[in-house]
């Protein structure tokens, strides 16, 4: 009994963790590396969820809808970057915060107008809506296993791209040296645009994956945004490895905290974790900038 509870909670925590990583990865791309605090990153999560709900209704095929939702969100990200965010790369953080706060309000309202103020509910096709036996006495929801798998695969792919490829280096070089990387023959604008879209697509992917277990509603991005921020900061701004470790840590602490701690402690466990880690290592677990 206790073993199965532990296993189930472990899986829940990991699933929340990879989910957070998908969101935090994009955020860290844009914030940690391109130096843009894009609070509207949460909106991509929301857009991904709405796109998935809409496409699934039309198409009916789960994987096609997931991929399309992520792609469409990436595209929305590309358009947004070009139209609204370009000028903000070199602005102080607070300007970025304010501008992207405005974008959050805009996107929330827009989804309310397009899809109505009530949450959408996504019903999964067939087998995905069932559960699979894992150990004796525990059958675990299929969809959560899918999220876990996709999240881990994406994390791995991302890690390889960022650490091993030239594109990854350029992205990491990013804002810290924008002008002179450009003067060495690199089209930094394009690198940034791509990185931004990929970040948006990852958030969209997270939103699409989450929509069957959560609800699709305007404003759904804000609550995950704050967790994504925490993940990025705990991990060390700009560090992917850090973001991954932190995401898993936050996922586990939150899941176990709600179960084992008294209510107040359960509610604040993640914040306590961040405060403790920052008190111990003021630059997060894996400071990226030397």
């Amino acid at each position: 009994m206790i073993a199965s509870l532990f296993v189930e909670q472990m899986l829940n925590g990991l699933q929340l963790g990879v989910m957070l990583f998908l969101i935090a990865a994009g955020f860290t791309l844009v914030f940690g590396i391109m130096n843009l605090v894009n609070l509207a990153h949460g909106s991509f999560y929301m857009i991904g969820a709405y796109m998935f709900a809409t496409i699934l209704q039309k198409v009916g095929a789960f994987w096609v809808s997931i991929v399309l939702a992520a792609l469409v969100t990436g595209f929305v990200g590309a358009v947004l970057e070009r139209l609204a965010l370009k000028p903000f790369y070199r602005r102080p953080y607070l300007d970025q915060v304010l501008a992207t706060l405005g974008l959050i309000l805009f996107f929330n309202e827009l989804t309310r107008i397009i899809w109505g103020p009530q949450p959408l509910n996504v019903t999964l096709p067939g087998a995905l809506n069932s559960s699979v036996p894992i150990i004796v006495g525990l059958s675990y929801p299929m969809i959560r296993l899918v999220i876990l798998a996709v999240g881990v695969l994406v994390a791995l792919a991302l890690y390889l791209i960022i650490s091993r490829t030239r594109a990854g280096m350029l992205v990491r070089a990013g804002a810290s040296n924008r002008v002179f990387i450009g003067a060495l023959g690199i089209n930094v604008n394009r690198v940034f645009s791509w990185a931004f879209s990929v970040g948006a697509a990852l958030a969209g992917l997270a939103g699409a994956l989450a929509s069957p277990i959560l609800a699709v509603e305007a404003g759904m991005g804000e609550s995950v945004l704050i967790f994504a921020l925490i993940v990025v900061v705990i991990g060390g701004i700009g560090s992917f490895r850090g973001a991954f470790v932190a995401a898993i840590l936050v996922g586990l602490i939150d899941t176990f905290g709600r179960l084992m701690f008294p209510p107040l402690l359960g509610d604040i466990s993640v914040y306590l974790l961040m405060a403790a880690i920052l008190a111990w290592r003021p630059q997060g677990l894996f400071p990226a900038h030397g």
Partner: protein, 344 residues
């Protein structure tokens, strides 16, 4: 580095539009005379609205002080205000039920008098700021922001779990604070002028602070902390004092807030609220004390006007915010006075 490398120079040359003292006079006189105006056009509701605006202006002012002059972007200003509000609520509640606030280790009686509860609110918020500051001020930049956010969220959840006072649902204040018969805070106009007086006083005091030796140390630390240390300053102490002052003022604003709405809930302390406060400061213009007041008025005023036209007012308001930041680089204060607000 590059940020400075290509900073267009000569921006100073833009024409001065309005001297800042004139702006101050306009704001002050406008607020002082507002009740007369609302009486003339029979729109008493605006007294309520502007009382609210001034309360938020006070919170924004308390943040503008540390943000603009010490570079401390605190993501928990609303939580400080909330603590102040709860202190007033809890003390008044105890007073109404005749239960002392604390019985151990020594008895502390309770009160609903503004002369006791409001300073108590400042004290409590200041103490909370002290504790948070002791830890958070050891970090910089984004890490500081996130730590203040973390502590603010802890306070938020503390009150969410405080079932005795409504938990997440919040609680109503039965009676406004008493003032030993001096003032009737139930009278909207009296309350308005009390709020106005407090805002004006806070402005004057902070104005003095930022130009004093203490203020110069804060500003220096904002521009170049490394250099400050090499000069022999420990910025930490000065920042801590500023942080506590700021927290106490926010606490006072909280005391006003709970008296204004006769209701307080943890959602007043949620991080989204604090981000609203930051928005007010940034929109108004950082690095001066009039900016936060202008920002609070602009945001709450715009909300009131726009929401009157359409329920989808965020669709306009959001992009408007973005455009304001894009084109009004120095905030509303900058637009009105033509001065660089951020130039220390």
């Amino acid at each position: 580095m590059e940020l400075f490398l290509f900073k267009p120079s000569g921006g100073q040359a833009s024409a001065r539009r309005l001297p800042s003292w004139a702006l101050l006079v306009i704001i002050g006189a406008g607020l002082a005379l507002l009740p007369v105006l609302t009486h003339l056009i029979d729109a008493p509701f605006y007294i309520t609205l502007f009382s609210r605006i001034m309360i938020f202006a006070l919170i924004a002012l308390s943040l503008g002080f540390i943000l603009g002059f010490a570079g401390l972007v605190c993501f928990g200003q609303a939580a400080f205000a909330g603590v102040g509000a709860y202190v007033v609520l809890i003390m008044s509640d105890h007073a109404a039920n005749g239960v002392p606030l604390v019985e151990w280790p020594f008895a502390i009686g309770s009160s609903s008098s503004a002369f006791i509860t409001w300073p108590a609110a400042m004290l409590a918020s200041g103490l909370v700021a002290l504790v948070i500051g002791l830890i958070a001020l050891r970090t910089r930049g984004v890490y500081f922001i996130m730590l203040t956010l973390a502590f603010a969220q802890m306070i938020y959840f503390f009150f969410v779990n405080l079932d005795a006072y409504g938990g997440e649902d919040g609680a109503s204040l039965a009676e406004r604070s008493s003032t030993a018969g001096l003032l009737d805070l139930d009278d909207k106009i009296v309350f308005y002028y009390v709020t106005f007086a407090i805002l004006a006083l806070a402005y004057i005091i902070l104005r003095k602070f930022v130009d004093s030796r203490f203020g110069m140390v804060l500003r220096g630390g904002r521009q170049n902390e490394r250099r400050m240390a090499a000069l022999g300053y420990s910025c930490f102490r000065y920042r801590l004092v500023a942080f506590v002052i700021s927290g106490a003022i926010a606490g006072l604003a909280g005391a006003l807030m709970v008296n204004h709405g006769k209701f307080i809930s943890p959602s007043f302390m949620h991080w989204v609220r604090s981000s609203d406060i930051i928005a007010m400061v940034v929109l108004g213009g950082t690095g001066n004390l009039m900016g936060p007041i202008l920002g609070a008025a602009a945001i709450l005023g715009l909300e009131d006007v726009l929401s009157g036209y359409t329920e989808h007012w965020h669709l306009i308001y959001g992009p408007l915010l973005l455009l304001c930041v894009l084109f009004a680089r120095r905030g509303l204060y900058g637009i009105l006075t033509g001065k660089g607000a951020d130039n220390d």
